[in-house]
């Protein structure tokens, strides 16, 4: 079971997507649709807060990769925040930690969008 929460920080013009639970092949499609809708709506400055994300499978990683590419084409940016040890290990193992900017907290990620 995974939950997705979307919050807009209007002062910083950043959309924060909060993920909680486990992301696998059964629910990654919902995350993909949410990200595609946001990008098509012009929300190109994004933070994905993974503080409550317990597990991510290859299906979830694939959505991150697709979203990052779409944001790059739209001149936007995706920053990840607050990965727990297990999720960070998967990112490190696949080399994804070298293609995403990863911050320790949501606040730091929002600040980085301003830089």
């Amino acid at each position: 079971m995974m939950q997705i929460e979307v919050i807009e920080d209007e002062s910083q013009h950043v959309v924060i997507v909060g993920l909680s639970g486990r992301m696998d092949s059964s629910n990654s499609r919902a995350f993909e649709e949410k990200m595609v809708n946001l990008i098509q709506a012009g929300k190109t400055r994004m933070v994905v807060d993974c503080a409550q994300l317990q597990y991510i499978s290859s299906a979830g990683l694939r959505v991150f990769l697709m979203a990052a590419k779409q944001l790059t084409m739209a001149k936007g940016k995706l920053i990840l925040a607050s990965l727990n040890d297990d999720v960070r290990q998967v990112f490190n193992l696949t080399g994804f930690s070298s293609i995403f900017q990863i911050c320790d907290s949501r606040e730091e990620a929002i600040r980085n969008h301003g830089d």
Partner: protein, 308 residues
């Protein structure tokens, strides 16, 4: 000599390996067939439900091994225009036949054991049974190790099911020998009559476990399930290496067919790049992935739309 008629050393090595696989399965079938005759005599002399169960199990497994051999032979000879993707799925179907034989044996063994629990009988002469079963144990141990070694060289459903089959046969042989020794050694004790059906139940547990593994693996592959998680992560790691070389990822598809692994990646490249550059990049990615995933054939399709 024409260029098209020469074989590379890789092709020759692959064909030799395929022949070795075929020979290994045929050896298993012949040995199984030869062992059946003394097994029948041993069952009659010992009057053991466990030995009867073991005989029925061996007979069904021998038939299944024969079907496996036919499948491998067909796959080796069957490279034709009629089957562009090979006939790897025959291996899965053959593995299901092996599993079917295991399930049938499990039902027979369980029924026989329950009947013997209800009507316990002392066992008869076990000399020949011990000799035959001990010999079978050695042969099955050898076949188990041999198929396990071959399956380490090639990810093949048949070899997987074969080494599991011979492992379960070896375990069953050991159970039979132990049970026979205990039953005969404590013949005067009332409880000794229950050792024989208890051993049969143990054999059935091994069978059920092995059949379950073979059935689930083969059915998932026949239904074209995507590759397991560890291999998916290998694909993504390769895409991360080349992250800056493509502009969009439109999809990844993967499946298994027998020993073969098929991976299709749909990617979009910068429209300003020359086709030659893109092709060179595709070749590198393909070679990298095929080196990392045993038995894989990778297709990278340049596209501007998501894969359907």
């Amino acid at each position: 000599m024409e260029k098209g008629s020469t074989l590379s050393s890789t092709q020759v090595s692959s064909m030799e390996h395929f022949r070795e696989k075929e020979r290994s399965i045929l050896t298993g079938f012949i040995l199984g067939l030869v062992a059946l005759a003394p097994d029948v005599v041993a069952v009659i002399l010992a009057n053991s439900v466990m030995l009867l169960s073991d005989l029925l199990k061996s007979a069904s497994e021998t038939v299944a091994t024969f079907l496996s051999w036919l499948a491998v032979r067909k796959v080796r000879r069957g490279k034709s225009f009629d089957y562009n993707y090979g006939q790897g799925k025959l291996e899965n179907i053959s593995s299901l036949a092996v599993a079917g034989a295991m399930m049938l044996s499990w039902m027979i063994v369980t029924y026989g054991a329950i009947e013997r629990f209800r009507h316990p009988k002392p066992i008869g002469s076990i000399g020949l049974a011990l000799f035959v079963t001990g010999g079978s144990a050695l042969v099955n141990l050898w076949m188990w190790r041999k198929n396990l070694r071959l399956s380490g060289v090639e990810a093949s459903p048949i070899l997987e099911s074969q080494w599991r089959l011979f492992r379960s046969k070896f375990a069953a042989n050991i159970s039979v020998v132990a049970s026979l020794v205990v039953s005969a050694g404590f013949r005067e004790q009332r409880w000794a009559a229950y050792v024989d059906p208890a051993g049969a139940i143990l054999i059935s547990a091994f069978l059920l476990l092995s059949a379950y593994r073979v059935i689930t693996d083969s059915i998932y592959d026949l239904l074209d399930r995507t590759l397991d998680e560890s291999l998916q992560l290998v694909i993504l790691a390769e895409l991360a290496v080349y992250y800056h070389e493509y502009v969009a990822l439109h999809g990844i598809r993967s499946r298994r067919s027998g020993s073969n692994v098929y991976i299709e990646i749909f990617m979009e490249f910068d429209g300003d790049r020359r086709m030659e550059e893109v092709q060179e990049l595709i070749d590198r990615m393909k070679a990298g992935l095929e080196a990392k995933i045993r038995g894989s054939q990778v297709l990278i399709a340049p596209t501007t739309a998501p894969a359907s």
